[in-house]
Amino acid sequence: MPSLKDMRTRINSVRATRKITSAMKLVAGSKLRRAQEHAEAARPFAAKMAAMLANLAAAVKDQGEAPPLLAGTGKDDVHLLVVATADRGLCGAFNSSIVRATRRRIQELKEQGKTVKLVCVGRKGRDMLRREYGDLIVEFVDGIAGKRRIGFADAERIAQKILQLYEAGEFDVATMVFNRFKSAMVQIVTFKQLVPVEPPEAAAAGEGVQAIYEFEPDEERILAELLPRNLAVQIYGALLENAASEQGARMVAMDNATRNAGEMIDRLTLRYNRQRQANITKELIEIVSGAEAV
């Protein structure tokens, strides 16, 4: 039986923990709002670029000469998974659900006899995957999720690395794994194919009949400029979604933790009071029976 003093210490420590978790919840809440705004602000560019790409892809398809980023290498032997996680923990199942989905995908691909390579964005994902698949990790980027604001430059840096690997023939298909932000409560692990680029549906981008565009200088050159940029935009969008998801997950996790701490404090306090009462009763009995004996 713990002594009364031990129980008091215990209650105080749980109280301190509750303070921390509730502060983290508030911080995550305000960060979430900001992250959502950023994700919102980045959407028009991505949408416009997708529309432009759809037009170009349609134009080039007629000519049958597509650059490798669009057409692929013609094989799909080597798969590159770009795994985006957070740099920090304490956000519920956020990181582990990405890692779990990644593991499953790696297993599937291996069963099909494909080679898998990993690019880890975010420290947590790397730490969790390193033990099992350390030899598959070809690149690691960190220090992105912790920033106040994810810059486009960060996405460009990742895109650059992926492009270098692609040009060196290191992989055939690249897929990004990240959490899509549905709501603060719900994040969906999403696989998005980056390379070869899946041309967005032209009809979805514009309304019905597409105008015949003039291209200056010509389709190939514009496409050659646009595709790498599109890769960066895709990655940027995914990173922003991921950042928002992370804060959402953390907010929910910390909310639960705060509630649990509250319940625990109630339970401990009850036990503490009972114990105290029992002690008093015991002492009283001792005094009374002592007096009777005299």
Partner: protein, 138 residues
């Protein structure tokens, strides 16, 4: 007011402009071109240079872009820009310094790989265009 077209300028992080304008002049890779309402559909690469927004014959805004893409269709003119800045907000001394730095980087690079050289040359071209933009303003 004369006929207008919708001009939108977006960079990856935000929308910089979305407004009806009478005319914009864009720095295409094959020369500057003006866009008036009902322009033929066009997609063009942009070089580092200045986008000028016109009202009548007067320039109301000048925006520097380091590159990007422009799309003109019946809905208007959309520019996907990189490194967009208001020309009025450019500081001459800083721009000159940036150009000097870029040129030094290029000169200092010993046996750069082809991509490295292309990257450095591009940085110099952007810095030079920015200086021209500032000079033209004054």
């Amino acid at each position: 007011m004369a006929a207008t077209l919708t001009f939108e300028l977006v960079d990856p992080e935000r929308v910089l402009a979305s407004e009806p304008v009478e005319m914009v002049v864009l720095p295409g890779v094959e020369g500057d071109f003006g866009v008036l309402p009902d322009h033929a559909p066009l997609v063009s690469l942009l070089r580092p240079g200045v986008i000028a927004v016109y009202e009548g014959t007067k320039v109301t805004r000048r925006i520097f872009v380091a590159g990007g893409f422009a799309e003109v269709n019946e809905q208007g003119c959309v520019v996907l820009a990189e490194g967009a800045q208001m020309v009025d907000e450019l500081d001459r001394a800083a721009v000159e310094q940036a150009l000097k730095d870029a040129e030094e980087d290029l000169a200092d690079a010993k046996e750069p790989s082809e991509e490295e050289r292309a990257r450095l040359e591009r940085a110099v071209a952007i810095a030079r265009a920015r200086l021209e933009a500032v000079t033209a303003k004054e």
